[in-house]
Amino acid sequence: MDTVGLVAMASIIISGLTIAIGSIGPALGEGRALAQALNAMAQQPDEANTITRTLFVGLAMVESTAIYCFVISLILIFANPFWNYVIGG
């Protein structure tokens, strides 16, 4: 296989793996946070507003690790820096 094909294959496989493995952790974390928040809301319904707001912010922050993986796989597919070396050199 020539170098162009090799780089393309590696990029596509790795970008798939990146998003697949990278979303496991945030998914577990978000599920745990949501479960805890539901628990807290069931025990203290009066605090539901505060809990919901903090939960949303927290979920968005936990999710950002998955978003980093997503950005990495986007870079690998659409803006791979190694293309320049392979095609130019």
């Binding site: 949303f56 912010v57 950002s64 978003i67 980093y68 950005v71 986007l74």
Partner: protein, 232 residues
């Protein structure tokens, strides 16, 4: 398929290019400026207030309440900066649902610029409040060994701020584009609605994080130990 609105170039002359990010940023800026100018042109404090003045008062007072709640008092100090960030981002993200509009926040340049504003604003607020020496001393607290970690933390949280907003908005519009090509009947509307929710939440998160960073740079010594915990 364009992954960022930077790639849509409307006009080019030498090194000056006019891409979709720039154009739609100007659209949002014009919309916000002209809209609030039109509304605030004839303000009244009587019992009968115009409809749009009511809307604007609601937005501003809600933002003030949120800032006061998150920073513990004195919302007017942060309102201009944090409120502007929130309003700009939320307008960009919500208008993304309009066909033909490309959200400027789906481009890494816009979000990096916004994150740089926060990066600069943190020491400005901190020095204005505590003085230069006192502000710089927090970097070598509790020991000078911590200096590189403080610096790295400051840089990496700026990067995280930019990439978080960019990734969320880009993934929203990208998912809609992909779903549109495989199941174009009903499903894209659901994803679009989810994108609206995520856009508003991300605008809120961006503003709240900017506020937290600024407030932690301003904070007095006794809570210094919690600084590093909230920095990441």
């Amino acid at each position: 398929m364009e992954i960022t609105p930077d790639q849509i170039v409307y006009w080019e002359w030498g090194v000056v290019t006019l891409n979709a990010t720039l154009v739609f940023s100007w659209v949002v800026m014009g919309l916000l400026a002209v809209g609030s100018r039109l509304v605030t042109r004839n303000l009244t404090s009587g019992p009968e207030i115009p409809r749009w003045q009511n809307v604007l008062e609601l937005i501003v007072s809600r933002i003030r309440d949120q800032i006061a709640e998150a920073s513990g008092g004195r919302p007017d100090r942060y309102l201009p900066f944090v409120g502007t960030l929130f309003l700009f981002i939320v307008t960009c993200n919500v208008l993304d649902a309009v066909p033909g509009f490309k959200a400027p926040t789906a481009s890494l340049t816009t979000t990096a610029a916004l994150a740089t504003c926060v990066f600069v604003a943190v020491p400005v607020f901190g020095i204005a409040r505590r003085g230069l020496g006192d502000y710089l001393r927090q970097y070598v607290r509790p020991a000078p060994l911590m200096l590189p970690f403080h610096v790295i933390g400051e840089l990496s949280r700026t990067l995280a701020l930019a990439v978080r907003l960019f990734g969320n908005i880009t993934s929203g519009s990208l998912i809609v584009a992909i779903v549109l090509s495989i199941a174009p009947l009903f499903f894209p509307v659901v994803m679009q609605a989810l994108g609206l929710l995520i856009g508003v939440i991300q605008a809120y998160v961006f503003a709240i994080l900017a506020l937290v960073y600024i407030a932690s740079a301003e904070r007095a010594h006794q809570q210094e130990t919690t600084d590093s915990a909230s920095a990441t």
